[in-house]
């Protein structure tokens, strides 16, 4: 492949949204209320919509006969490049919201920078996605505040979720080889520069929600290199089931 770095760079962005979209999709029919159920699956559909644009572009770059669906559905676990944060399970609604919030704040900042990319396709996808993600961030922030500053039980659960998920936040700002190459070409976003604002914004909202900002300095990493947590295999088993059981099946 001629443009391996660009291809991997696109996958890195797309896989975050694909895997998070799949996680949210699991709530279809299982959300805590009808209204939040629809809200979560709406976010999921927004993400899948964005993912299609990325994978169509990746298929064009790869130019090896694979379609967007092949790239999205038929890779092995080690070939998915999403961060560990987005593959974490829907343990309870606080975890779903906590994961969403910690990702949305990053996602919004990331897309704002990606819109300035020299690559016009990526810039256009970012521009289109950013309105959707602005709503995602509003939705998840609102819920962090509601649960954090809610009842004693909701506060305990929200704090527990933030504490547990915190360890996956640092990885958002790690650079891969593809990242570095793309930043050099003016195509990619330098994620290391987003880190300070991220923790500032997240901390501010947690404090407003009367929650404590975790102090832990121990962080997990690996997703961006394809080394995932134990939850990933189960997620892919469900995501890929139809194509594995009935290869080339069409809707």
């Amino acid at each position: 492949m001629k443009n391996k770095n660009l291809y991997n760079y696109i996958l890195g962005i797309a896989d975050n949204s694909l895997i998070l979209g799949q996680r949210l999709g699991e709530l279809c029919g299982h959300g805590p209320t009808l209204e939040t159920d629809i809200a979560c699956t709406n976010v999921s559909l927004d993400l899948f919509g964005q993912v299609r644009s990325y994978f169509q572009y990746a298929a064009k770059i790869a130019d090896d006969g694979r379609t967007e669906d092949d790239i999205a559905m038929l890779r092995k676990e080690r070939e998915y490049l999403n961060v560990l944060l987005v593959e974490q399970p829907n343990t309870n609604f606080a975890y779903t919201i906590g994961r969403q919030f910690l990702f949305d704040v990053y996602h919004l900042a990331f897309l704002t920078e990606l819109e300035k990319s020299k690559d016009l396709t990526l810039s256009a996808i970012a521009k289109k996605s950013i309105k959707e993600v602005r709503y995602h961030e509003r939705f998840s922030s609102d819920w962090v505040k509601r649960l954090g500053d809610g009842t004693e039980e909701s506060k305990t659960k929200m704090q527990e979720a933030i504490n547990d998920l915190w360890t996956y936040t640092d990885e958002l700002f790690h650079q891969t080889e593809a990242d570095k190459a793309m930043v050099k070409e003016g195509i990619g976003v330098d994620v290391t520069k987003l880190k300070e604002d991220y923790y500032e914004n997240v901390s501010e909202l947690l404090e407003e929600s009367t929650l404590e900002v975790p102090e832990s300095k121990y962080f997990q990493k690996g997703g961006k290199k394809g080394i995932h947590t134990e939850h990933m295999g189960y997620l892919l088993a469900e995501l890929q089931y139809m194509q594995r059981a009935y290869p080339n099946m069409e809707w």
Binding site: L34, E35, I38, N42, R138, T151
Partner: protein
């Protein structure tokens, strides 16, 4: 977990072509802000609206169906209240 339900809200959406807000349905939410967000997610996913009103259902006073007799039936045999008994001159347009 609390099993108490959130209050019910009535949702009014103004569509792109319509001038007035129309009743779209109802949903549950803890407060007005959440009702707006829920309404956005439940009732405007297919590009239906450009504006949303939410009203807590308890603030709506409704007529009692048991009183329909005295409320509405007296109007049934008063066709002369429809303006259909006038001869309109041809010069009057758009009536």
């Amino acid at each position: 977990m609390s099993t108490k339900n959130w209050p019910l809200w009535e949702i009014f959406i103004r569509s792109k072509n319509g001038l007035e807000h129309r009743h779209s349905g109802s949903l549950h939410a803890a407060d007005a802000e959440m009702a707006l967000e829920n309404a956005r997610d439940v009732y405007t996913r297919r590009n239906e609206g450009v504006s949303i009103w939410v009203v807590e259902s308890k603030n709506i006073t409704a007529s009692n169906p048991e009183n329909n007799g005295e409320m509405f039936e007296p109007a049934q045999d008063k066709v002369y209240r429809h303006p259909t008994f006038y001869d309109l001159p041809d010069e009057v347009k758009h009536m």
